[in-house]
């Protein structure tokens, strides 16, 4: 519990920007992981459609990463703005 307090104090110095960026990374990880996992499931079911699935997976991953990067930009603004 004390460790948590110390860590949160250190984070507060930077306006909790580190925590925000970490949460954004978690969100991106979960999102892209879901996309990848479902795409792989589908590719395993039907190997001949692997090309189509791959293209769509990459597009969806880029969109989800975009959202996570909003949070990163906001955290950067907190630190440097």
């Amino acid at each position: 519990m004390e460790l948590l307090t110390v860590l949160l104090e250190a984070a507060a110095a930077a306006g909790y920007a580190g925590i925000g960026a970490g949460l954004a990374a978690i969100g991106a990880g979960i999102g892209v992981g879901l996309i990848g996992s479902h795409a792989l499931d589908a590719m395993a079911r039907q190997p001949e459609s692997a090309g189509d699935l791959r293209a769509n997976m990459i597009v969806a991953a880029a969109l989800v990463e975009g959202v996570a990067l909003f949070a990163v930009i906001v955290c950067l603004l907190v630190v440097f703005g």
Partner: protein, 413 residues
């Protein structure tokens, strides 16, 4: 053995491109010198990273090799044009101030932005100085001097400590300078235009023949955008109208992203500057709005097939999304490119941070860091292409949405 049997040497255009490529590579190949971020003291990783991803009024290649760029500023007193080398002192820091003879303004470079300062109460720009806020500003007898050096008298009262952010009083100016990003953007635009105009001429000259040379490289890319992006989103009939914009934006963004990744090439960060992506996204917004037909706007303010209660929530969201979608385009591109640059710079700073503790640690971390950095570079190459593709794809989808005809309603629900 005939060297000139290679067809690339026979035609003038082949020689021209060979020369161009060699000049490009020679210009950008250099030795790596540790540079940036040093303040005569501790290595400040945050500052070094921000300095490297920001725009600048000069291109810093390595060590002391800096290419100054023209500065064009407009104030109430008029327009001033000068090279940014006027700000350089003998330490190659940009700490001098410059008084223009035509308008009488005194300019300084503060954190890579140009400000007008009052000649009498100039501020000390050098990072080595420690400014005590209680110290009175520069005495009037220094007013005629245009060089703001580190004043010994300013340091006398205060102990030398780490750099403190002094009070900076300067009025901003209307800055139309050719900065690093502007120069990079113009370079890439020229490259893209020259490349594609030559290719178009080659297609005209060689009608019906197999593609030759650069056509082989560019044709699959152009067809990729046409067949996989434009036609699925817009349909064959409408695709031709928007294809020029889509192709230009795709190749321009891809070229700018790649330029930002070239090592030792001056550290361009073109698509990472919000201003440039703002214009790109703004163009998408303008084209969507101009080409939006009645059904597009109708569906925004009166979405069909939606219960009345939900319409109250949905319509404001739809109206906002007209502005949010291009804004998201802008932020997605900037954030992705900046994030990639920051990661690579952060791994580089890791080396310096550990190197300050002990040389051995620096080397050890250096090996690991460089390997990871190379891995990140490959990912960044993918991201460079991917972000250009996603921007173009989404732009095509927005155009397609805006010019949809009525018949798509049967496909709903």
């Amino acid at each position: 053995m005939k060297i000139t049997s290679n067809p690339i040497y026979r035609k003038a255009s082949g020689r021209f491109f060979t020369l161009l490529t060699s000049a490009f590579l020679m210009l950008f190949s250099a030795n790596l010198f540790a540079s940036g971020g040093e303040e005569g003291g501790k290595f400040n990783a945050g500052e070094m990273i921000v300095h490297h991803i920001s725009d600048a009024h000069s291109i810093h290649f390595f060590g002391h090799a800096t290419l100054p760029l023209p500065c064009i500023v407009k104030t109430d007193k008029g327009i001033d044009v000068f090279m940014s080398s006027v700000f350089m002192d003998e330490h190659h820091e940009f700490s001098k101030s410059y008084t223009s003879t035509s308008t009488g303004n005194t300019y300084v470079l503060h954190h890579e932005k140009i400000y007008v300062v009052d000649g009498a109460h100039g501020t000390n720009m050098s990072h080595d100085a420690h400014i005590d806020p209680a110290t009175p500003p520069v005495q009037p007898e220094h007013a005629d001097s245009t060089i703001m050096e580190v004043g010994g008298e300013l340091n006398a009262a205060a102990p030398v400590a780490e750099h403190k952010e002094e009070e900076f009083h300067g009025t901003p100016v209307l800055d139309f300078s050719i900065t690093k990003s502007v120069l990079g953007m113009l370079m890439m635009l020229t490259l893209v235009v020259v490349l594609f105009v030559r290719m178009a001429k080659a297609y005209e000259k060689r009608k019906g023949q197999a593609p030759k040379g650069m056509q082989n490289l560019l044709e699959p890319l152009v067809l990729f955008i046409k067949d996989e992006v434009a036609i699925p989103a817009l349909g064959k009939k409408r695709a031709q109208k928007f294809l020029p914009f889509l192709l230009t934006s795709f190749f321009f963004i891809w070229a700018c992203n790649i330029l930002g990744l070239l090592p030792f090439a001056g550290g361009f960060n073109i698509t990472g500057t919000l201003s440039i992506t703002l214009v790109l996204a703004g163009l998408v917004f303008i084209i969507t709005s101009i080409n939006g037909n009645a059904h597009y706007w109708g569906h925004i303010v009166w979405p069909p097939g939606v219960p009345m209660a939900i319409k109250f929530i949905l319509v404001p969201i739809e109206i906002l999304s007209v502005f949010i979608k291009p804004a998201v385009l802008m932020i997605r591109l900037t954030a992705n490119i900046n994030a990639g640059h920051i990661i690579i710079l952060a791994f580089t700073s890791l080396i310096f941070i550990f190197g300050e503790k002990s040389t051995g640690a620096g080397f050890g971390v250096g090996v690991f860091s460089t390997a990871f950095m190379i891995f990140m570079y490959f990912i960044e190459l993918l991201v460079a292409f991917l972000q250009a593709y996603v921007f173009t794809l989404l732009a095509a989808l927005y155009f397609g949405d805006a010019t949809q005809e009525h018949h798509h309603e049967e496909a709903h629900h």
